[in-house]
């Protein structure tokens, strides 16, 4: 059976690597390196994160894209043919929302990929909740999910929502 691909993207520090580590059942291949600029954490992903998840006999690849703008060419390459796109944003960093919207608009206007927004750090208030984030991104409220990327039962939430929306859209179609 052909493996399927889920792409996890978002600005620097949104929790992409954490989410993939939380969900992956194999050791995550990461390419973290010391940050060459001040981004609020000592290391950052410079190529991509890669994890796997078996659901029944179906293999899912989890790809995390680097958040820095200069890697924007990878956003489209990785999103092509993906089962879905998870865009993560940190609920306590509204200053990153503009960049995240830019990223979401770019990918989804060019690739017909189903998407869900995940708002991280919901366990560390004060944070923006999903219902406040949705209007900023101009997306329906059901496409935004709050989560804690370190907790497996919470981290899987955006993926569950993505699959639910795909099923609902398939039924409508």
């Amino acid at each position: 059976m052909e493996p399927l691909k889920i792409v996890v993207t978002g600005p620097v520090g949104a929790g992409k690597s954490t989410l993939i580590r939380t969900l992956s059942e194999t050791e995550v291949v990461d390419t973290d390196a010391s940050a060459s600029e001040v981004i609020g954490k000592p290391t950052t992903t410079v190529a991509m994160d890669y994890g796997t998840l078996y659901l029944g006999d179906q293999l899912l690849y989890l790809f995390g894209t680097p958040g820095q703008d200069r890697f924007d060419f990878m956003w489209e390459v990785l999103s092509e043919g993906a089962l879905g796109l998870l865009l993560l944003i940190r609920g306590d960093r509204p200053e990153d929302f503009g960049l995240a919207r830019r990223l979401l608009d770019y990918i989804t206007s060019r690739q017909p990929v189903p998407y869900v927004l995940g708002v991280t750090r919901q366990d560390q208030p004060p944070v923006w909740g999903p219902e406040e984030v949705a209007p900023f991104f101009g997306v329906p409220a059901e496409r935004v999910v709050g989560l804690n990327a370190k907790d497996p039962r919470s981290a899987v939430g955006p993926l569950v929502r993505l699959l639910e929306l795909m099923i609902a859209e398939g039924q409508i179609a």
Binding site: Q58, Q111, L147, V160, L163, A173
Partner: protein, 241 residues
Amino acid sequence: MARPATQIKRNFRCTNWFCGVLIVAIFGNLTHMSLDDLLPFLSSRDGALELFNLKRLPQVTLYFRKGQLHCVHLGNKPIDALQARSVIGELISARKGSFEFIPGAMAKSCPDVLDWPVDRILISITTTFDEYAQVADRLPHADTLFKLTHITVPDDTRLSDFWKRAHIYLQEGVSAQQLANKLGMPVDHTRFYLLKLQQLGAVAAGRAHKTQRQERRAGVAARLLGSLKKRFFGEGGAWSH
């Protein structure tokens, strides 16, 4: 140093005997005197300010009449209000280029008469480009496709000029890069205008149409969802947030 009169390309007509013939008295370099220094000085004169040797633009000619910017030519061709805003924005930030003022010169051709009061140009365009600098890191990607969400002309004249030219293309869906090519203006400026229209809710990023392959994946999603819930929440477990 001023160009010899023989090198001045005559793309204007004259209203006085000394126009463009005698020594050009007002000349210089944008390195030492920027356009925002020059404009107030020229607001009381009739004539043409030619700017050349510019880094990012061909020769630009600004025609002044009765305290107003009457017309703008880019590379000896008249341009419309939208392009004129972009060109003046570029000129205000330009620090390389030469200029000469030809008293009494008037445009031979000016299909889009601007007649902008000179004292307001600086405020309007400088404000726009200050705002641009503030949002530079949030501008949409040049290849993001945008579509109209509703057809209402924005009140702000800075946006309405852009709207009038761009809305036909936005009905079908167009990127900042494509618009820049169609409208003859820098892509960073079209990105800025699209961001402003997006903030007003007048345009939104178009979502790519689903393919048949994506439609077929609804069945795959149903199969995966059961396994996913079982794995993370156990038999009969449900996710709720």
